[in-house]
Assembly symmetry: C2
Homo-oligomer: 370 residues x 2
DNA sequence: GTGAAAGCGCTAACAC
DNA sequence: GTGTTAGCGCTTTCAC
């Protein structure tokens, strides 16, 4: 493997000159530059990243830690981050913490040891202690999706409470009354806030939340399935259910279909997270679409801004989710009992409805100051 | 940021001793080790990865380059690789080439510059020239999913031809005759081999492939939609379609539903790649399940083996796909024309059927020698 | 505009 | 079992 010394010798210059050419230093003789570049090409020389990092004490790399690579919510978000990072000349290291605090810790350590320029963390729960170290190192960091209570960090989140509240409001309007909620862990802000929104939606309409109808899982498919099975086995099962994320929705659907029940005849369903197949499912699923790609964009912008020297107080960017109404929450009607024939037209198509933009649903929104 | 020198001073030892403690060198006085460890903890010392890499000329990191982070096929595969890598003490850098040869090239360069221990490449098409450099550097590398023609590299693939052939055979058995194929680019081995299998399946039954029914897209949703629309607009549209991957299947479904057609009444569908929602879709989708996680495992094992010193000839590991039969390919029958009422029971449930294991479908399989 | 030389933080001979 | 020291490959003053 050729080094900068080899290049210098081949070009008949000093290593300093080669380095200058490498870094596009303007005050280098163009003729020299050409000679150096030719030598580089001939030798197949590639600057050592390690040496450069060691010397400059920083690498043009961001580390991005997400709880689940298989969850489309996170990977779509990654795309948003990627587009900004790539545009600004940073490479991205994506790490999968697998909802495992130990792995998250390990990757955080790795990021610090690698002296990356910045870190994007979609925290797993509960917050790991190693974060104190990260803060101590003063590496620019932004959290996304979940907020870390007790840490004063830049963060980008979705207005989860509003999303859940919109969904419950919608279900109530459509005539559902016994509305259940399958949610993620309450030590995640997403889990907690979605529960708050769910309760608020009910209480606004004078309905007392029935704690029997609130089930907690882990944001994964198996958990959604298990909790849905539990709900269906209740003496008085729910007539509608709000599911806290995409993967648990899959599980819930499995449980519902397997029990021989029909949506929305026997039970209506709204889930957090949208994707192409929500509109293609059986029936099309009403869902709370999160602006995932934009989440990534905003996160990356905040991080870039920190890296470029912003040292002000921590900022919050909160984006609004949008309720896409489809067939899984068709209006409940008297005498609505047959299976296929009476299903209204909207139940079969993926009818979209723009976000509700009333005063209520916007409460708590705040655009992040740059 | 504390360095090894700070730790050495604090513990009253030399940097060499600190280094030994760091690397669990057995011949170091346990008492010393404790003292050093305490100093490390007190100072919040973290070894510089860059310095270590520079010195040892290798980092315990693998770079993994995939064409699309949003495609569940690849992320599931990543999980398999992760489990092996993590177990063997390697961290994973995941890079998204976005089906863009330039990005792939950039990430390959980054990997070399970072002096990673190994590279897993799921190549984008067409093969980029920078690969020659990688080979020249003798960095252990394994390709997965797509094979790189003309490069003698370890690779792990699925028997694509067999998968496509099984699917076509199945459709023919069920009475479909005008079978279309929406496929990926033919300069990918996956695209090419699936087409070969499709043709072979037809020819085996004495049916001449109709080139009008073969449409090529880019393995993405929009392309699948576009080509399906094209097929539906033909004077004599197909009665069944084989779609080359999960994302294009989504697009194809959109086109079919939007045109007001029903599956399988108007057109049957089999798609490559399986996932939970295939069984939950409307109707449940027959699909060719690839052993994605296992693909990752095998890939990682091959890479590990190279890193540990194997220098023999390039190896191929080929895994077999499995056809999961569901409602989207229900047997075609005379008089099968009404919409819902006559739909047979299997159309509504996700009936699973084990892989066909006849001689024919196993042709070409080869287990990779370790 | 160019070169000499120091030094980033670590590891690994080698000496004791 | 421990310390001394050279040096990995690069960038960056500081002279000239």
């Amino acid at each position: 493997m050729a080094t900068i010394v080899d290049v210098a010798e081949a070009a008949g210059v000093s290593t300093a000159t080669v380095s200058r050419v490498l870094n596009n230093n303007p005050r280098v003789d163009p003729v020299m530059a050409v000679r150096v570049k030719r030598a580089i090409a001939e030798l197949g020389y590639r600057p050592s990243r390690a040496a450069r990092t060691l010397r400059t004490q920083q690498s043009r790399v961001w580390t991005l830690i997400i709880p689940d690579v298989r969850n489309p919510f996170f990977t779509e978000m990654v795309r948003g981050i990627e587009d900004v990072a790539y545009g600004a000349g940073y490479a991205l290291i994506l790490c999968n913490s697998d909802e495992d605090g130990t792995k998250e810790h390990a990757y955080l350590e790795l990021a610090l040891a690698e002296q990356v320029s910045g870190i994007v963390l979609a925290p797993t729960h509960p917050p790991v202690s190693s974060l104190r170290d990260v803060l101590a190192q003063a590496v620019p960091i932004v959290t996304v999706d979940r907020k870390l209570e007790g840490y004063d960090l830049d963060h980008v989140v979705v207005n989860n409470a509003s999303g859940a509240e919109q969904a419950v409001e919608h279900l109530l309007e459509r005539g559902y009354r016994r509305i259940a909620c399958i949610n993620g862990p309450l030590d995640t802000t997403t889990g907690w806030e979605r529960l708050v929104g769910y309760r608020r939606g009910l209480e606004r309409q004078g309905i007392a939340p029935d704690e029997e109808l609130v089930r907690l899982a882990d944001f994964r498919e198996a958990g959604g399935r298990r909790e849905m099975e539990h709900l269906l086995a209740l003496e008085e099962p729910p007539d509608a259910v709000l599911v806290g994320n995409n993967l648990m929705t899959l599980g819930a659907l499995e449980a519902i279909f397997q029990s021989g029940r029909e949506i929305p005849r026997d039970v209506a369903l709204v889930g957090f997270d949208d994707s192409s197949w929500n509109a293609l499912s059986r029936p099309p699923l009403t869902s709370i679409a999160q602006p995932t790609y934009e989440l990534g964009l905003e996160t990356a912008r905040l991080l870039l801004n920190r890296i470029e020297g912003y040292t002000g107080p921590a900022r919050e960017v909160m984006l609004s989710p949008v309720l896409n109404v489809r067939g899984s929450t068709v209006a409940r009607r008297a005498g609505y009992t047959t299976i296929e024939s009476t299903k209204p037209k909207e139940a079969r198509d993926g009818v979209r409805q723009p976000a509700r933009r009333g005063d209520r649903s916007k409460r708590g929104d705040r655009s992040g100051a740059q």
